[in-house]
Protein backbone atom coordinates (compact mmCIF):
# COMPACT_ATOMS: atom_id res chain seq x y z
CA UNK A 1 0.00 0.00 0.00
CA UNK A 2 1.19 3.48 -0.84
CA UNK A 3 1.38 5.79 2.09
CA UNK A 4 2.35 8.90 0.30
CA UNK A 5 0.29 11.99 0.17
CA UNK A 6 -0.20 14.62 -2.44
CA UNK A 7 0.35 18.01 -0.83
CA UNK A 8 -2.89 19.86 -1.34
CA UNK A 9 -5.26 21.85 0.80
CA UNK A 10 -7.10 18.68 1.62
CA UNK A 11 -3.96 16.83 2.63
CA UNK A 12 -3.55 19.33 5.45
CA UNK A 13 -6.84 18.42 7.02
CA UNK A 14 -6.18 14.77 6.56
CA UNK A 15 -2.85 14.82 8.33
CA UNK A 16 -4.68 16.33 11.23
CA UNK A 17 -6.95 13.35 11.12
CA UNK A 18 -4.00 10.99 11.11
CA UNK A 19 -2.63 12.80 14.11
CA UNK A 20 -5.83 12.71 16.06
CA UNK A 21 -6.89 9.29 15.10
CA UNK A 22 -6.14 5.88 16.20
CA UNK A 23 -9.83 5.72 15.72
CA UNK A 24 -11.61 2.82 14.24
CA UNK A 25 -14.69 4.33 12.67
CA UNK A 26 -16.43 1.32 14.00
CA UNK A 27 -18.90 2.01 16.65
CA UNK A 28 -18.37 5.56 17.61
CA UNK A 29 -17.80 8.67 15.72
CA UNK A 30 -14.27 9.73 15.14
CA UNK A 31 -13.51 13.00 16.85
CA UNK A 32 -11.28 14.58 14.27
CA UNK A 33 -12.91 13.12 11.16
CA UNK A 34 -12.14 15.32 8.18
CA UNK A 35 -13.83 13.76 5.18
CA UNK A 36 -12.04 15.70 2.45
CA UNK A 37 -8.72 14.72 3.87
CA UNK A 38 -9.41 11.04 4.27
CA UNK A 39 -7.39 10.33 1.17
CA UNK A 40 -4.23 10.07 3.21
CA UNK A 41 -5.70 8.21 6.12
CA UNK A 42 -4.95 4.53 6.38
CA UNK A 43 -8.34 3.16 5.36
CA UNK A 44 -7.66 -0.24 6.88
CA UNK A 45 -7.22 1.29 10.31
CA UNK A 46 -9.82 3.98 9.83
CA UNK A 47 -12.60 1.62 8.74
CA UNK A 48 -11.38 -1.45 10.62
CA UNK A 49 -10.88 -3.45 7.41
CA UNK A 50 -8.90 -6.62 6.81
CA UNK A 51 -5.47 -5.97 5.21
CA UNK A 52 -6.40 -8.12 2.19
CA UNK A 53 -9.27 -5.79 1.22
CA UNK A 54 -8.59 -3.93 -2.04
CA UNK A 55 -8.94 -0.17 -2.39
CA UNK A 56 -10.42 0.58 -5.82
CA UNK A 57 -10.85 4.28 -5.21
CA UNK A 58 -9.85 6.46 -2.28
CA UNK A 59 -12.00 9.49 -3.15
CA UNK A 60 -14.79 8.51 -2.86
CA UNK A 61 -13.97 5.35 -0.90
CA UNK A 62 -14.63 2.16 -2.81
CA UNK A 63 -13.04 -0.87 -1.17
CA UNK A 64 -13.68 -4.48 -2.06
CA UNK A 65 -13.43 -7.77 -0.30
CA UNK A 66 -12.17 -11.11 -1.62
CA UNK A 67 -13.79 -14.53 -1.68
CA UNK A 68 -11.62 -15.99 1.08
CA UNK A 69 -12.38 -13.04 3.39
CA UNK A 70 -16.10 -13.80 3.17
CA UNK A 71 -15.94 -17.23 4.79
CA UNK A 72 -17.94 -16.31 7.93
CA UNK A 73 -21.63 -17.17 7.91
CA UNK A 74 -22.43 -13.63 9.00
CA UNK A 75 -19.90 -11.23 7.53
CA UNK A 76 -17.93 -9.18 10.09
CA UNK A 77 -17.26 -5.49 9.42
CA UNK A 78 -13.59 -6.22 8.61
CA UNK A 79 -14.61 -8.02 5.39
CA UNK A 80 -17.48 -5.81 4.22
CA UNK A 81 -16.99 -3.85 0.99
CA UNK A 82 -17.46 -0.07 0.93
CA UNK A 83 -19.19 1.65 -1.97
CA UNK A 84 -19.44 5.39 -1.41
CA UNK A 85 -20.86 7.69 -4.06
CA UNK A 86 -19.98 10.93 -2.34
CA UNK A 87 -18.33 12.32 0.76
CA UNK A 88 -19.31 10.65 4.02
CA UNK A 89 -21.12 12.87 6.52
CA UNK A 90 -19.13 14.31 9.40
CA UNK A 91 -20.01 15.36 12.93
CA UNK A 92 -22.93 12.99 13.20
CA UNK A 93 -25.04 13.89 16.22
CA UNK A 94 -27.16 10.87 17.00
CA UNK A 95 -29.18 12.86 19.54
CA UNK A 96 -30.44 15.38 17.00
CA UNK A 97 -30.65 13.07 13.96
CA UNK A 98 -34.08 13.05 12.30
CA UNK A 99 -35.75 11.27 9.39
CA UNK A 100 -38.45 13.17 7.51
CA UNK A 101 -41.15 11.37 5.57
CA UNK A 102 -42.56 13.46 2.73
CA UNK A 103 -43.47 13.22 -0.96
CA UNK A 104 -46.64 13.34 -3.07
CA UNK A 105 -48.10 10.24 -1.46
CA UNK A 106 -47.86 10.87 2.28
CA UNK A 107 -51.06 12.05 3.96
CA UNK A 108 -48.96 14.63 5.79
CA UNK A 109 -45.22 14.92 6.14
CA UNK A 110 -43.82 13.74 9.44
CA UNK A 111 -40.42 13.86 11.14
CA UNK A 112 -39.10 11.32 13.62
CA UNK A 113 -36.04 11.46 15.81
CA UNK A 114 -34.00 8.28 16.07
CA UNK A 115 -35.25 7.98 19.61
CA UNK A 116 -38.89 8.17 18.37
CA UNK A 117 -38.24 5.37 15.90
CA UNK A 118 -36.54 3.20 18.48
CA UNK A 119 -39.18 3.67 21.15
CA UNK A 120 -42.39 3.77 19.07
CA UNK A 121 -41.89 0.74 16.87
CA UNK A 122 -41.04 -2.92 17.43
CA UNK A 123 -37.47 -3.81 16.47
CA UNK A 124 -36.60 -6.82 14.31
CA UNK A 125 -33.34 -8.51 13.36
CA UNK A 126 -32.71 -10.07 9.94
CA UNK A 127 -29.72 -11.15 7.92
CA UNK A 128 -29.61 -9.60 4.46
CA UNK A 129 -27.45 -10.28 1.44
CA UNK A 130 -26.30 -6.97 0.02
CA UNK A 131 -24.51 -7.07 -3.31
CA UNK A 132 -23.43 -4.10 -5.37
CA UNK A 133 -25.22 -4.07 -8.74
CA UNK A 134 -21.79 -3.72 -10.36
CA UNK A 135 -20.12 -6.65 -8.57
CA UNK A 136 -18.16 -8.51 -11.27
CA UNK A 137 -18.09 -5.48 -13.60
CA UNK A 138 -14.38 -6.07 -14.34
CA UNK A 139 -15.22 -9.07 -16.52
CA UNK A 140 -17.37 -7.29 -19.12
CA UNK A 141 -16.00 -6.89 -22.64
CA UNK A 142 -16.03 -4.23 -23.97
CA UNK A 143 -15.24 -2.79 -20.53
CA UNK A 144 -18.09 -1.16 -18.63
CA UNK A 145 -17.76 2.18 -16.86
CA UNK A 146 -17.37 2.65 -13.14
CA UNK A 147 -15.42 1.07 -10.31
CA UNK A 148 -14.02 -2.20 -11.58
CA UNK A 149 -15.40 -4.59 -8.97
CA UNK A 150 -14.15 -8.18 -9.02
CA UNK A 151 -15.89 -10.65 -6.73
CA UNK A 152 -15.93 -8.92 -3.41
CA UNK A 153 -18.81 -6.44 -3.45
CA UNK A 154 -21.18 -8.72 -1.56
CA UNK A 155 -21.79 -9.74 2.05
CA UNK A 156 -24.42 -10.89 4.44
CA UNK A 157 -24.59 -9.08 7.78
CA UNK A 158 -27.27 -9.04 10.44
CA UNK A 159 -29.29 -5.85 10.79
CA UNK A 160 -31.52 -4.66 13.62
CA UNK A 161 -34.07 -1.91 13.27
CA UNK A 162 -37.70 -1.06 12.73
CA UNK A 163 -39.82 -2.14 9.79
CA UNK A 164 -40.17 0.60 7.21
CA UNK A 165 -43.75 -0.62 6.78
CA UNK A 166 -44.63 0.12 10.41
CA UNK A 167 -43.29 3.65 10.10
CA UNK A 168 -45.03 4.24 6.75
CA UNK A 169 -48.31 3.10 8.32
CA UNK A 170 -47.78 5.56 11.16
CA UNK A 171 -47.05 8.37 8.68
CA UNK A 172 -50.12 7.56 6.58
CA UNK A 173 -49.74 6.70 2.91
CA UNK A 174 -52.15 7.60 0.10
CA UNK A 175 -53.49 4.98 -2.30
CA UNK A 176 -51.52 6.37 -5.20
CA UNK A 177 -48.11 5.59 -3.62
CA UNK A 178 -45.82 3.86 -6.15
CA UNK A 179 -42.26 4.13 -4.92
CA UNK A 180 -40.12 5.30 -2.03
CA UNK A 181 -36.91 7.29 -2.47
CA UNK A 182 -34.34 7.95 0.23
CA UNK A 183 -32.34 11.06 1.03
CA UNK A 184 -29.11 10.93 2.98
CA UNK A 185 -26.46 13.00 4.70
CA UNK A 186 -23.53 12.28 2.38
CA UNK A 187 -22.49 15.19 0.14
CA UNK A 188 -21.68 15.47 -3.54
CA UNK A 189 -18.08 15.13 -4.72
CA UNK A 190 -18.26 18.46 -6.54
CA UNK A 191 -19.05 20.20 -3.23
CA UNK A 192 -22.34 21.48 -4.67
CA UNK A 193 -24.75 21.38 -1.70
CA UNK A 194 -27.77 21.17 -4.03
CA UNK A 195 -26.63 17.87 -5.54
CA UNK A 196 -27.32 14.52 -3.89
CA UNK A 197 -24.59 11.92 -4.52
CA UNK A 198 -27.21 9.17 -4.60
CA UNK A 199 -30.94 9.02 -3.86
CA UNK A 200 -32.41 5.67 -4.85
CA UNK A 201 -35.38 3.63 -3.67
CA UNK A 202 -37.76 0.80 -4.43
CA UNK A 203 -41.39 0.10 -5.33
CA UNK A 204 -43.92 0.03 -2.47
CA UNK A 205 -44.13 -3.77 -2.67
CA UNK A 206 -40.45 -4.02 -1.67
CA UNK A 207 -40.71 -1.16 0.85
CA UNK A 208 -43.54 -2.98 2.64
CA UNK A 209 -41.77 -6.34 3.05
CA UNK A 210 -41.19 -7.63 6.58
CA UNK A 211 -37.42 -7.62 6.02
CA UNK A 212 -37.18 -4.02 4.78
CA UNK A 213 -35.80 -2.11 7.75
CA UNK A 214 -34.62 1.24 8.94
CA UNK A 215 -31.68 -0.30 10.78
CA UNK A 216 -29.63 1.08 13.69
CA UNK A 217 -27.40 -1.89 14.30
CA UNK A 218 -25.19 -4.10 12.20
CA UNK A 219 -24.07 -7.40 13.70
CA UNK A 220 -25.39 -6.28 17.09
CA UNK A 221 -23.43 -3.04 17.27
CA UNK A 222 -23.93 0.55 16.13
CA UNK A 223 -23.56 0.67 12.35
CA UNK A 224 -19.99 1.66 11.42
CA UNK A 225 -19.72 5.11 9.84
CA UNK A 226 -18.77 3.79 6.38
CA UNK A 227 -21.83 1.56 6.37
CA UNK A 228 -24.43 4.19 7.20
CA UNK A 229 -24.21 5.27 10.83
CA UNK A 230 -26.58 6.07 12.52
CA UNK A 231 -29.40 4.69 10.36
CA UNK A 232 -29.52 2.71 7.15
CA UNK A 233 -32.31 1.49 4.91
CA UNK A 234 -31.99 -2.27 4.39
CA UNK A 235 -33.57 -3.88 1.35
CA UNK A 236 -31.84 -7.26 0.99
CA UNK A 237 -31.58 -9.08 -2.33
CA UNK A 238 -31.73 -5.89 -4.41
CA UNK A 239 -28.72 -3.89 -5.60
CA UNK A 240 -27.07 -2.69 -2.38
CA UNK A 241 -27.52 0.93 -3.52
CA UNK A 242 -31.22 0.57 -2.62
CA UNK A 243 -30.06 0.15 0.98
CA UNK A 244 -29.26 3.83 1.45
CA UNK A 245 -26.78 4.87 4.15
CA UNK A 246 -26.98 7.86 6.56
CA UNK A 247 -30.74 8.22 5.93
CA UNK A 248 -32.28 11.63 6.65
CA UNK A 249 -35.49 11.33 4.66
CA UNK A 250 -37.86 9.02 2.83
CA UNK A 251 -40.05 10.44 0.07
CA UNK A 252 -43.18 8.47 -0.78
CA UNK A 253 -43.70 9.07 -4.47
CA UNK A 254 -46.72 8.77 -6.77
CA UNK A 255 -44.33 7.82 -9.58
CA UNK A 256 -41.04 5.96 -9.89
CA UNK A 257 -38.54 7.89 -7.78
CA UNK A 258 -36.37 10.12 -9.97
CA UNK A 259 -33.49 10.86 -7.58
CA UNK A 260 -29.79 10.70 -8.45
CA UNK A 261 -28.76 7.31 -9.86
CA UNK A 262 -32.37 6.22 -10.43
CA UNK A 263 -32.34 7.61 -13.98
CA UNK A 264 -30.16 7.39 -17.09
CA UNK A 265 -28.10 4.21 -17.15
CA UNK A 266 -27.40 4.02 -13.41
CA UNK A 267 -28.45 0.70 -11.88
CA UNK A 268 -30.31 -0.08 -15.09
CA UNK A 269 -29.81 -2.68 -17.81
CA UNK A 270 -31.18 -2.76 -21.36
CA UNK A 271 -34.87 -3.76 -21.23
CA UNK A 272 -34.17 -6.07 -24.17
CA UNK A 273 -30.82 -7.86 -24.60
CA UNK A 274 -28.20 -6.09 -26.73
CA UNK A 275 -24.98 -7.12 -28.50
CA UNK A 276 -21.79 -6.24 -26.60
CA UNK A 277 -20.86 -2.59 -26.99
CA UNK A 278 -24.28 -1.42 -28.22
CA UNK A 279 -25.29 2.11 -27.32
CA UNK A 280 -28.63 2.05 -25.52
CA UNK A 281 -30.84 5.10 -25.10
CA UNK A 282 -32.13 5.98 -21.63
CA UNK A 283 -35.75 5.03 -22.49
CA UNK A 284 -34.58 1.52 -23.27
CA UNK A 285 -32.87 1.00 -19.93
CA UNK A 286 -34.86 -0.72 -17.13
CA UNK A 287 -34.28 -0.52 -13.37
CA UNK A 288 -32.64 -3.55 -11.74
CA UNK A 289 -34.78 -5.10 -9.02
CA UNK A 290 -33.92 -8.52 -7.57
CA UNK A 291 -30.26 -9.53 -8.00
CA UNK A 292 -29.58 -12.79 -9.86
CA UNK A 293 -28.61 -16.19 -8.42
CA UNK A 294 -24.93 -16.36 -7.48
CA UNK A 295 -22.42 -18.09 -5.22
CA UNK A 296 -18.87 -17.85 -3.90
CA UNK A 297 -16.39 -20.51 -2.77
CA UNK A 298 -15.00 -18.95 0.39
CA UNK A 299 -12.80 -21.87 1.46
CA UNK A 300 -10.18 -22.70 0.41
CA UNK A 301 -8.58 -19.59 -0.98
CA UNK A 302 -7.72 -19.96 -4.67
CA UNK A 303 -4.19 -21.34 -5.31
CA UNK A 304 -4.15 -24.28 -2.89
CA UNK A 305 -1.68 -27.12 -3.53
CA UNK A 306 -3.01 -30.45 -2.33
CA UNK A 307 -1.27 -33.78 -1.81
CA UNK A 308 -2.46 -36.50 -4.19
CA UNK A 309 -5.16 -38.74 -2.76
CA UNK A 310 -6.29 -36.16 -0.23
CA UNK A 311 -9.90 -34.99 -0.32
CA UNK A 312 -10.53 -31.24 -0.49
CA UNK A 313 -13.21 -29.75 1.69
CA UNK A 314 -14.85 -26.74 0.03
CA UNK A 315 -17.47 -24.36 1.38
CA UNK A 316 -19.11 -21.07 0.58
CA UNK A 317 -22.36 -19.17 0.25
CA UNK A 318 -25.10 -18.86 -2.34
CA UNK A 319 -27.89 -16.33 -2.75
CA UNK A 320 -30.62 -15.49 -5.23
CA UNK A 321 -31.95 -11.97 -4.67
CA UNK A 322 -35.63 -12.21 -3.72
CA UNK A 323 -35.60 -15.97 -4.21
CA UNK A 324 -34.05 -18.99 -2.58
CA UNK A 325 -31.20 -21.16 -3.75
CA UNK A 326 -32.50 -24.73 -4.16
CA UNK A 327 -29.42 -26.51 -5.47
CA UNK A 328 -25.67 -26.06 -5.31
CA UNK A 329 -23.18 -27.98 -7.45
CA UNK A 330 -19.47 -28.04 -8.17
CA UNK A 331 -17.47 -29.16 -11.17
CA UNK A 332 -13.77 -29.98 -11.50
CA UNK A 333 -13.92 -30.61 -15.26
CA UNK A 334 -15.06 -27.22 -16.54
CA UNK A 335 -18.73 -28.09 -16.44
CA UNK A 336 -18.58 -31.49 -18.19
CA UNK A 337 -19.97 -33.01 -15.00
CA UNK A 338 -21.46 -31.52 -11.85
CA UNK A 339 -21.72 -32.92 -8.32
CA UNK A 340 -24.23 -31.69 -5.77
CA UNK A 341 -23.11 -29.93 -2.58
CA UNK A 342 -24.85 -29.90 0.80
CA UNK A 343 -26.89 -26.69 1.02
CA UNK A 344 -28.41 -25.04 4.10
CA UNK A 345 -31.70 -23.17 4.33
CA UNK A 346 -31.36 -19.37 4.74
CA UNK A 347 -31.41 -18.01 8.33
CA UNK A 348 -34.33 -15.90 7.06
CA UNK A 349 -35.62 -14.79 3.68
CA UNK A 350 -32.95 -12.74 1.79
CA UNK A 351 -30.03 -14.18 3.81
CA UNK A 352 -27.34 -16.07 1.93
CA UNK A 353 -27.19 -19.85 2.31
CA UNK A 354 -24.15 -21.98 3.03
CA UNK A 355 -22.87 -24.93 1.05
CA UNK A 356 -20.14 -27.48 1.46
CA UNK A 357 -18.74 -30.49 -0.32
CA UNK A 358 -15.80 -32.87 -0.25
CA UNK A 359 -14.00 -32.99 -3.56
CA UNK A 360 -11.83 -35.91 -4.72
CA UNK A 361 -9.41 -35.40 -7.57
CA UNK A 362 -8.70 -38.35 -9.91
CA UNK A 363 -5.03 -37.60 -10.59
CA UNK A 364 -2.34 -35.00 -10.09
CA UNK A 365 -2.46 -31.80 -12.10
CA UNK A 366 -4.11 -28.41 -12.44
CA UNK A 367 -7.79 -28.13 -11.61
CA UNK A 368 -10.39 -25.45 -11.25
CA UNK A 369 -13.27 -25.98 -8.87
CA UNK A 370 -16.31 -24.21 -10.27
CA UNK A 371 -19.45 -23.60 -8.22
CA UNK A 372 -22.95 -23.21 -9.61
CA UNK A 373 -26.17 -22.31 -7.81
CA UNK A 374 -29.74 -22.84 -9.01
CA UNK A 375 -32.59 -20.68 -7.70
CA UNK A 376 -36.22 -21.48 -6.94
CA UNK A 377 -37.19 -20.34 -10.45
CA UNK A 378 -34.89 -22.96 -11.96
CA UNK A 379 -32.32 -20.35 -13.07
CA UNK A 380 -28.68 -21.41 -12.88
CA UNK A 381 -25.53 -19.33 -12.86
CA UNK A 382 -23.91 -19.14 -16.31
CA UNK A 383 -20.29 -20.26 -16.70
CA UNK A 384 -19.64 -17.36 -19.07
CA UNK A 385 -20.12 -13.69 -18.33
CA UNK A 386 -23.82 -13.05 -19.03
CA UNK A 387 -25.54 -10.35 -21.07
CA UNK A 388 -23.37 -7.35 -21.75
CA UNK A 389 -24.86 -4.06 -20.57
CA UNK A 390 -23.44 -0.53 -20.77
CA UNK A 391 -22.72 -0.17 -17.04
CA UNK A 392 -21.60 -3.72 -16.36
CA UNK A 393 -24.22 -4.88 -13.87
CA UNK A 394 -25.45 -8.35 -12.92
CA UNK A 395 -22.41 -10.50 -13.67
CA UNK A 396 -23.40 -13.69 -11.88
CA UNK A 397 -21.01 -16.00 -13.74
CA UNK A 398 -19.81 -19.02 -11.73
CA UNK A 399 -16.99 -18.46 -9.28
CA UNK A 400 -13.99 -20.77 -9.58
CA UNK A 401 -10.78 -21.40 -7.68
CA UNK A 402 -7.48 -22.88 -8.89
CA UNK A 403 -6.15 -26.05 -7.21
CA UNK A 404 -3.02 -28.10 -7.94
CA UNK A 405 -2.80 -31.74 -6.94
CA UNK A 406 0.80 -32.67 -6.22
CA UNK A 407 2.40 -36.01 -6.95
Amino acid sequence: MKRRSFVTKTALGSLATVVGADIVFGNHLPKGYTPLGLDTVDPYKAFGKHPDMKVLNDRPWNIESQAHLLDDKVTPNASIFIRNNGVMPEDIDVGSWTITFDGESVKQSKTYSLQDLKSKFTQYTYQATLECGGNGRIEFDPPAKGNQWGLGAVYCAEWTGVRLRDVLEDVGIKDDAVYIGYHAADTHLSGDPKKEPISRGCPMSKALQDETLLAFKMNGEDIPLAHGHPVRLIAGGWPASVSGKWITGISVRNKVHDGTKMTGSAYRVPCKPVAPGTEVTDENMCIIESMPVKSLITYPKTGGRLAKGKPLHIRGHAWAGEYEVVKMEYSIDFGASWTECTLSKPANRLAWQHFEATVNFPAEGYYEVWARATDSNGKKQPMLVPGWNPKGYLNNACHRIAIKVKA
Binding site: V7, T34, N57, R59, P142, T302, L306, M383
Partner: protein
Protein backbone atom coordinates in the same frame (compact mmCIF):
# COMPACT_ATOMS: atom_id res chain seq x y z
CA UNK B 1 1.02 -0.25 9.40
CA UNK B 2 2.84 2.59 11.13
CA UNK B 3 5.05 4.98 9.26
CA UNK B 4 7.59 7.36 10.67
CA UNK B 5 5.67 10.52 9.84
CA UNK B 6 2.49 9.22 11.32
CA UNK B 7 4.02 8.06 14.58
CA UNK B 8 5.99 11.27 14.90
CA UNK B 9 2.83 13.26 14.45
CA UNK B 10 1.01 11.11 16.94
CA UNK B 11 3.68 11.81 19.55
CA UNK B 12 3.50 15.50 18.75
CA UNK B 13 -0.21 15.46 19.11
CA UNK B 14 0.11 14.08 22.60
CA UNK B 15 2.53 16.87 23.54
CA UNK B 16 0.47 19.56 21.95
CA UNK B 17 -2.90 19.06 23.52
CA UNK B 18 -3.58 22.10 25.61
CA UNK B 19 -1.44 24.48 23.57
CA UNK B 20 -2.84 26.95 21.08
CA UNK B 21 -0.05 27.03 18.54
CA UNK B 22 3.37 25.52 18.23
CA UNK B 23 5.97 25.59 15.52
CA UNK B 24 8.34 22.68 15.22
CA UNK B 25 11.17 21.98 12.88
CA UNK B 26 12.45 18.42 12.81
CA UNK B 27 15.03 17.42 10.27
CA UNK B 28 13.88 18.17 6.77
CA UNK B 29 10.34 18.21 8.02
CA UNK B 30 8.73 21.46 9.05
CA UNK B 31 5.48 21.09 10.93
CA UNK B 32 3.25 23.86 12.14
CA UNK B 33 0.61 22.72 14.50
CA UNK B 34 -2.14 24.99 15.65
CA UNK B 35 -4.72 23.37 17.85
CA UNK B 36 -8.22 24.69 18.02
CA UNK B 37 -9.21 27.06 20.84
CA UNK B 38 -10.64 23.99 22.49
CA UNK B 39 -7.89 22.59 24.69
CA UNK B 40 -9.70 19.32 25.25
CA UNK B 41 -9.33 18.39 21.64
CA UNK B 42 -12.99 18.33 20.72
CA UNK B 43 -12.11 20.03 17.48
CA UNK B 44 -9.47 18.88 15.06
CA UNK B 45 -6.09 20.55 15.44
CA UNK B 46 -4.79 22.02 12.24
CA UNK B 47 -1.53 20.64 11.00
CA UNK B 48 0.34 22.32 8.21
CA UNK B 49 3.13 20.49 6.47
CA UNK B 50 5.56 22.61 4.53
CA UNK B 51 7.42 21.41 1.45
CA UNK B 52 9.56 18.46 2.39
CA UNK B 53 11.60 15.78 0.76
CA UNK B 54 10.33 12.95 2.91
CA UNK B 55 9.11 9.73 1.41
CA UNK B 56 5.59 10.30 2.60
CA UNK B 57 4.88 13.64 1.04
CA UNK B 58 5.00 13.55 -2.70
CA UNK B 59 6.02 16.27 -5.08
CA UNK B 60 2.89 16.94 -7.16
CA UNK B 61 4.91 16.59 -10.36
CA UNK B 62 6.85 13.44 -9.43
CA UNK B 63 6.89 10.72 -12.09
CA UNK B 64 8.23 7.30 -11.11
CA UNK B 65 8.48 4.30 -13.46
CA UNK B 66 6.23 6.04 -15.96
CA UNK B 67 3.51 6.74 -13.40
CA UNK B 68 2.52 10.12 -11.98
CA UNK B 69 2.80 9.25 -8.30
CA UNK B 70 0.24 11.70 -6.90
CA UNK B 71 -2.60 10.59 -9.21
CA UNK B 72 -1.57 7.09 -10.29
CA UNK B 73 -2.06 8.09 -13.94
CA UNK B 74 0.49 7.03 -16.56
CA UNK B 75 2.99 9.50 -17.96
CA UNK B 76 2.14 10.85 -21.38
CA UNK B 77 1.28 13.88 -23.45
CA UNK B 78 -1.56 15.76 -21.72
CA UNK B 79 -1.05 14.11 -18.31
CA UNK B 80 -1.01 17.33 -16.28
CA UNK B 81 -4.12 18.66 -18.05
CA UNK B 82 -5.91 15.47 -17.03
CA UNK B 83 -4.58 15.72 -13.46
CA UNK B 84 -5.78 19.31 -13.20
CA UNK B 85 -9.26 18.66 -14.60
CA UNK B 86 -10.01 15.11 -13.56
CA UNK B 87 -8.72 14.56 -10.02
CA UNK B 88 -10.42 17.26 -7.98
CA UNK B 89 -13.81 15.62 -7.38
CA UNK B 90 -12.67 12.01 -7.33
CA UNK B 91 -9.20 10.53 -7.25
CA UNK B 92 -7.28 9.53 -10.38
CA UNK B 93 -8.06 5.93 -9.48
CA UNK B 94 -11.58 6.28 -10.86
CA UNK B 95 -10.06 7.41 -14.15
CA UNK B 96 -7.30 4.78 -14.31
CA UNK B 97 -9.64 1.89 -13.45
CA UNK B 98 -11.57 2.55 -16.63
CA UNK B 99 -10.84 1.63 -20.26
CA UNK B 100 -12.80 3.29 -23.05
CA UNK B 101 -12.49 4.34 -26.65
CA UNK B 102 -12.48 8.04 -27.49
CA UNK B 103 -16.20 8.22 -28.07
CA UNK B 104 -17.03 6.57 -24.75
CA UNK B 105 -14.59 8.84 -22.90
CA UNK B 106 -16.32 11.80 -24.55
CA UNK B 107 -19.72 10.50 -23.42
CA UNK B 108 -18.41 10.04 -19.88
CA UNK B 109 -17.18 13.63 -19.84
CA UNK B 110 -20.53 14.87 -21.20
CA UNK B 111 -22.37 12.84 -18.56
CA UNK B 112 -20.26 14.47 -15.82
CA UNK B 113 -20.91 17.89 -17.36
CA UNK B 114 -24.66 17.32 -17.49
CA UNK B 115 -25.10 15.69 -14.11
CA UNK B 116 -22.03 15.96 -11.87
CA UNK B 117 -20.94 19.56 -12.13
CA UNK B 118 -17.92 19.10 -14.42
CA UNK B 119 -17.00 22.36 -16.11
CA UNK B 120 -16.63 23.16 -19.82
CA UNK B 121 -13.15 21.92 -20.70
CA UNK B 122 -12.67 24.30 -23.65
CA UNK B 123 -9.51 23.58 -25.64
CA UNK B 124 -8.38 21.14 -22.99
CA UNK B 125 -11.05 18.64 -24.02
CA UNK B 126 -9.08 17.56 -27.09
CA UNK B 127 -5.90 17.21 -25.03
CA UNK B 128 -7.74 15.14 -22.43
CA UNK B 129 -9.47 12.92 -24.99
CA UNK B 130 -6.17 12.37 -26.83
CA UNK B 131 -4.54 11.29 -23.58
CA UNK B 132 -7.37 9.07 -22.36
CA UNK B 133 -7.99 7.32 -25.68
CA UNK B 134 -4.26 6.68 -26.05
CA UNK B 135 -3.38 5.44 -22.55
CA UNK B 136 -6.74 4.16 -21.29
CA UNK B 137 -8.08 2.40 -24.39
CA UNK B 138 -10.16 -0.77 -24.03
CA UNK B 139 -8.40 -4.09 -23.58
CA UNK B 140 -10.37 -7.03 -24.92
CA UNK B 141 -10.49 -10.20 -22.89
CA UNK B 142 -13.48 -12.11 -24.22
CA UNK B 143 -16.26 -13.83 -22.30
CA UNK B 144 -14.13 -15.43 -19.57
CA UNK B 145 -10.43 -15.15 -18.81
CA UNK B 146 -7.97 -17.66 -17.39
CA UNK B 147 -7.36 -17.37 -13.67
CA UNK B 148 -4.21 -15.29 -13.45
CA UNK B 149 -1.96 -14.08 -10.65
CA UNK B 150 -2.70 -17.15 -8.55
CA UNK B 151 -0.59 -17.10 -5.38
CA UNK B 152 0.13 -20.78 -4.79
CA UNK B 153 0.31 -22.15 -1.24
CA UNK B 154 0.24 -25.58 0.37
CA UNK B 155 -3.05 -26.79 1.79
CA UNK B 156 -2.73 -28.29 5.31
Amino acid sequence: MENPLQSLLQKLYGLLLGFFAILIAAGALLVYVATSPDPFGMNTPEVVIAETETEEVVDPDLIENGVHVASGLVEGEGLMTVVQNCTSCHSGKLVSQNRMNREAWKHTIEWMQETQGLWDLGNNEVIILDYLSEYYAPVHHGRRQNLTDVAWYDLE
